[in-house]
């Protein structure tokens, strides 16, 4: 168990090194002279030279890289130009909003995709199989920002079922007491039903837009791996032994078919984290995606770079978790390692 964890951790190290090198390169690729940029338009050459020295831009690239890694280890991602706040602090306060949205979207995607994929495989060639194909092809074709806008128009403007697409909770409700930063969990823990309902209503549309976009790989893989498992000998034996179809499908087939589905979660998270930026923009969701987009508009680069690095580290960590869970679920992988 500990060995499994350690071997998985070791595989993540090259990814993290790669991520840090790439983000360092991105900071040094900034258009023009970063020192002149940080000094502002009216700066004198002396001021620019001083800033260049303060930023360490007069040193050689390897020295700059060492300084960059040192800053990262101290949790220093620089300051935002427009707010003057440290980027790390701003990202940390906004992260729960993004995490809640992304995880909720994942739950919605899994809740739709897995039953759909299983049904499509069990009833291969029927209308539900075709539905599965249409939903998956349409899902990846829908620009997530467009689906979000369409939902906002239909469910907020036309039907008025959903609240205004602005933020995590209605302006007339106060957010729940801060415990985890997840409004749904916090309000449930404090028994604040009004806030729970309010947060859920705000969360529904952005989460569903993201889920539709990202459920395709899950549904396709569930269908494909269920089909493969259902055609294998042990299923035939189980059927021939007179087990009920329910037992055959859920206990025998599904438990084996779910393994490849877990590995596609990595791709699903890549989709979700990217879609997160667009959906947060559409729904004015106060997460790190919206923070980065607003910083981009004002050419404030430190938050954008902090955001890219945070997302990449999160993604590496998520992939690591997926790998680890896979090892727990599938004993064969554990024996190999």
């Amino acid at each position: 168990m500990l060995n499994l964890l350690l071997s998985r951790l070791a595989t993540a190290i090259p990814s993290i090194v790669g991520v840090v090198v790439v983000t360092f390169m991105l900071t040094r690729l900034l258009p023009g002279d970063p020192a002149a940029y940080f000094a502002g338009l009216a700066a004198s050459p002396q001021a620019i030279a001083e800033i260049r020295h303060n930023l360490g831009l007069d040193k050689s690239l390897p020295e700059q890289f060492v300084a960059y890694v040192g800053d990262l280890l101290h949790g220093n991602l620089g300051n935002s130009l427009s707010t003057g706040q440290p980027v790390v602090a701003e990202i940390a306060t906004r992260l729960p909003a993004s995490a809640e949205l992304t995880l909720f979207a994942l739950i919605v995607a899994v809740a739709i995709a897995i039953p759909l994929g299983v049904l499509a495989a069990v009833k291969q060639g029927t209308w539900i199989d075709h539905l599965c194909r249409v939903v998956t092809t349409a899902g990846v074709s829908l620009p997530v920002f467009f689906t979000g806008l369409l939902f906002a128009y239909v469910f907020y403007y036309l039907l008025q079922w959903a609240p205004a697409p602005t933020g995590r909770i209605d302006v007339f409700l106060s957010p729940p007491t801060h415990i985890t930063g997840f409004y749904l969990i916090d309000s449930a823990l404090t028994g604040n039903l009004e806030a729970f309902w309010g947060a859920l209503r705000q969360l529904a549309l952005p989460a569903i837009s993201m889920a539709i976009f990202s459920l395709a790989p899950l549904a396709r893989m569930t269908r494909g791996s269920m089909l493969a498992v259902l055609g294998s000998d042990f299923i035939r034996t189980a059927r021939a032994s007179g087990l009920s179809p329910r037992t055959v499908i859920f206990t025998y087939a599904f438990r084996n078919a779910v393994l490849p589905v877990i590995t596609t979660l990595g791709m699903v998270f890549s989709f979700l984290l990217g879609a997160n930026v667009l959906v947060e923009t559409v729904f004015a969701w106060p997460g790190i995606g919206l923070y980065a987009v607003n910083a981009l508009i004002t050419s404030d680069y430190a938050p954008v770079q902090g955001f890219v690095l945070t997302m990449a580290i999160l993604y590496v960590a998520l992939n690591l978790t997926i790998d680890f869970v896979y090892g727990l679920v599938d004993p064969r992988v554990r024996l190999d390692s």
Partner: protein
Amino acid sequence: MLPLLRHARYVLSENPVTGLAFGLFALFLIAAIFGPVLAPYNPLQSNAAMALKPPSAAHWFGTDQLGRDIFSRVLVATRLDLTIAFASVILAFMLGALSGVAAGYFGGWTDRIVGRLADTIMAFPLFVLAMGIVAALGNEVINIVIATAIINFPLYARVARAEANVRRDAGFVEAARLSGNGETRVLLGHVLPNIMPIMMVQMSLTMGYAILNAAGLSFIGLGVRPPDAEWGIMVAEGANFIQSGEWWIALFPGATLMLAVFCFNLLGDGLRDIIDPRMRT
């Protein structure tokens, strides 16, 4: 050639949706080539008197906040959107196929370097990496092309590597080597042409994603700048009017974008069935 055509006809008759996708593709190509000629209005001409008018006989898709004709803008934008997507797919193909084929054929260090590069790119959520690249390189259309090509690079490199690896010791490669061809010549003249069909499928499969990615980047204000007509930025402009009920500004460019991506995804699936039936799912 003839058997391939017959097979294509068989696939099309089996799957009429692919035929539909080919039809749509032709429409998009016509719009991309002749868009500026066909557009009934000047896509950049504003007209304050006609601002925010819903669809009518004169303006099929309505007008935007500056009174510009949305139908003309959607039509003209086709060229820019498809050019970005085509250019990035071709760039990704050139980078990915060449390095992938070399990695699979030579193995060793080449393989390790290309593999590490692909893994590093895949360690990022792809859209986020594209954002970072465009932000770093500068807010230009060409940088959208580069960013989209970079995030697609691992897909091409991996497929090309796997295919080249299988063929490394194939009979025809041995024969080419024995008749005195240098390694580079064997690689480019014999191995690469043999994996082209699979790379073509890969290209059509990633076209839809490339369009989506480019439109997403311009939606958040990267690359294409107003007043240029581009589907993503038009949806972004329309987003400000959704809450007051002017749906047509965002709907038409968004629906066109969706249709284009849908068309390319179906086309990719169809092409795969024609060229490589083994990969059919």
